[in-house]
Symmetry: C2
Subunit: 390 residues, 2 copies
């Protein structure tokens, strides 16, 4: 899942191919206070999502736990604490660290692997930090990617970046994009796959007029339906939305169901969540608060499901079913996902970061159909007919 | 791999969704004389490809060995032996049977499985016969599909069906398409995957002007490079082409290299073969002879490789590499293949026949790179820089 950010990153690199200027193993500190605070009350915890509001402006306080040095220097981030570009970069650095540490904790508790941290820079400016955990004990593949890029774009490329874009004027537009994107494929089929992506864009017309907007979403792809888990997941996202308007969750829940539809199979990729784009109201700060709340709701919405199911027993048919569903996940990502498609069509794109979302293993069988009344059929029914969960 | 045929089948079904009117286990006779004749001299045999020329006109002599009753009734095929629609249907029925039996023979010799035969009809006319062997001993997944469809199409849909299409006139064009499409994924990584597709189209303008053309190709995707095998494969295709003009093989070999390029990875799907579209010269009969020769060259180009390698020893890393390469195969089919894309975008498409081309299992690893000097690196080198093989 990449959505608009990847698209934007790669339409951007059309102007010159991405080169990994250098790659470092990254700064790995053991400061877990942030995500421990977030994980808080254990399984299905529903603590306040708004505890960070007071410290959001600089948000570099957490920098000692970031996965690597940021793309913009820490000094610059500190000095420009009011600039949304810097605020966004600091926020996604923090969220990346919190999410990676939360996932890694579950993995290490079972004697598994640590994330690999790949920091890459573009020669033309900007770069990203790709964190990957592959072939672990709890997680088969988990990727948490941030990217911060800027440059010049032709207007039709900019136009592609917006789901319902406003007209941009000028031949070559100044452009900035920062975002976090993640997919986690656990090994146990009783733990769902999760995906989230939060992103911020700025585009400046030839006449100096500036546009900015936010986009993002979090969605869940279970292999077996555990209604309680899905309700918890949606409730947590709804809570993050509700603080910014009661209308948001229903609107973005529906957008998510629509976006992740796989038309040729007449089913959804998963049980949804929230999805939005072109968010630029009521103010930049309010939008940022909203996106931050959504991003902060990933850990409490998802990690309890990992904790609850990571030791569940698994049968061979359950694993087979998981692999078949992963095949469907690949179908959506490679055929329909806007960002992946535009990304990969672009020469010089950093395809390893784009394809990080694919599972380690997937399977396709001719005319596979789960037996009537089975738990597999029960999931299929929900994917064909999306439900309200809250 | 579906190319234009699928596109055509599915743009066609836009006018009404495909319904499987009935599905039969198909007629399975043990008359193996045809493919035995083709298999002839054993490993790497290079016998004449033109032995069928004398009997091409009716071509229903082989009907007792077809996988199922044809889509058009046998009587109609017999009575219209001069109509290219009937000649093409009879030819692809024969090729399907010969290829299925040749593949199945290799499988059954090792105590494996038989092909499943799925005959499906469209309520609006036409249909197809899908033959699938899944999770076998020698073959992990093999699909051999024919379809014969006709109806009415808007002109821009017709336009999409041609790689370099001539202008069609009129709002609703009468349309016919018949083709065979196949992908074989063997279990042993020392046997390459093969794909072929041969197709015939007719379109009639509002003013009664008729267009017809042929398209097709055969290409090889090895996991380990065996130069002798690749040379044999290309030589066999070249021989089929050469009888119709020495210029054809080099032209269609290059077209194949271009078509199966995976731009985001800067590598080809495999070691190529031949690929062509819009073939309508010098005459319908000559084109048909050419396409028939190409289709008949599949068994002698590929089956010797199966026979040669099916008992080769396989290590765990070799299997892992095969699965990674299968991931690349999925990437090409779902992201770039014209037919698959347009097919799956169309509501009501028979997606099971379209996705039959996907392997049973595929794998994606972050930044996998084979060690320098390894056999895996040797293959990668050839995929990055396509060679001349003949």
């Amino acid at each position: 899942m990449a959505q608009v950010l990847r698209q934007c990153v790669v339409t951007f690199v059309r102007l010159g191919s991405t080169k990994v200027a250098h790659s470092t193993p990254g700064i790995r500190l053991n400061n877990h206070r942030l995500y421990l605070k977030l994980l808080g009350g254990g399984v299905l915890c529903q603590f306040s999502l708004f505890s960070w509001k007071g410290s959001r402006k600089p948000d570099v306080d957490s920098s000692d736990s970031w996965m690597s040095e940021p793309i913009t220097s820490l000094d610059e981030l500190k000095q420009n604490g009011d600039d949304m570009k810097c605020k966004m970069e600091a926020m996604i650095m923090r969220i990346q660290s919190e999410f990676v540490h939360a996932v890694e904790k579950e993995e290490l508790e079972e004697g598994g692997k640590k994330f690999l941290v790949d920091r890459w820079l573009r020669e033309q400016g900007g770069g990203g930090i790709t964190c990957v955990l592959q072939d672990g004990t709890v997680f088969e593949k988990a990727g948490v990617n941030i990217s911060v890029v800027s440059g010049i774009l032709p207007p039709n490329a900019v136009q592609q970046m917006r789901a319902r874009g406003k007209k941009m004027k000028g031949a070559n537009l100044k452009f900035f994009a920062a975002g976090i994107s993640s997919v986690v494929h656990p090994r146990n089929p009783h733990i769902p796959t999760v995906h989230f992506n939060y992103r911020y864009f700025e585009v400046e017309n030839d006449d100096g007029e500036k546009h900015w907007w936010f986009g993002g979403g979090t969605d869940l792809t279970p292999y077996y339906l555990e209604e309680k888990d899905v309700v918890h997941f949606h409730k947590t996202l709804k809570k993050a939305c509700d603080g910014h308007g009661k209308q948001l969750y229903p609107k973005y829940k529906k957008w998510c169901d629509d976006y992740f539809r796989v038309p040729h199979r007449g089913e959804s990729r998963g049980v949804g969540g929230i999805f939005f784009d072109d968010v630029d109201e009521p103010s930049q700060d309010k939008c940022f608060e909203f996106v931050t709340d959504c991003a902060e709701s990933v850990v409490p919405s998802y990690l309890p499901l990992v904790q609850k199911h990571k030791k569940d027993g698994v049968s061979y048919p359950e694993r087979e079913w998981q692999l078949l569903r992963r095949g469907r996940y690949v179908e959506f990502n490679l055929i329909y996902d806007r960002g992946t498609k535009f990304g990969l069509y672009t020469p010089g794109a950093r395809y390893e970061s784009i394809l990080m979302s694919l599972p380690l293993t997937a399977r396709w069988e001719y005319k596979h159909s789960p037996p009537e009344g089975s738990r597999e059929a029960q999931l299929t029914e929900v994917l064909k007919n999306p439900r309200e969960w809250v």
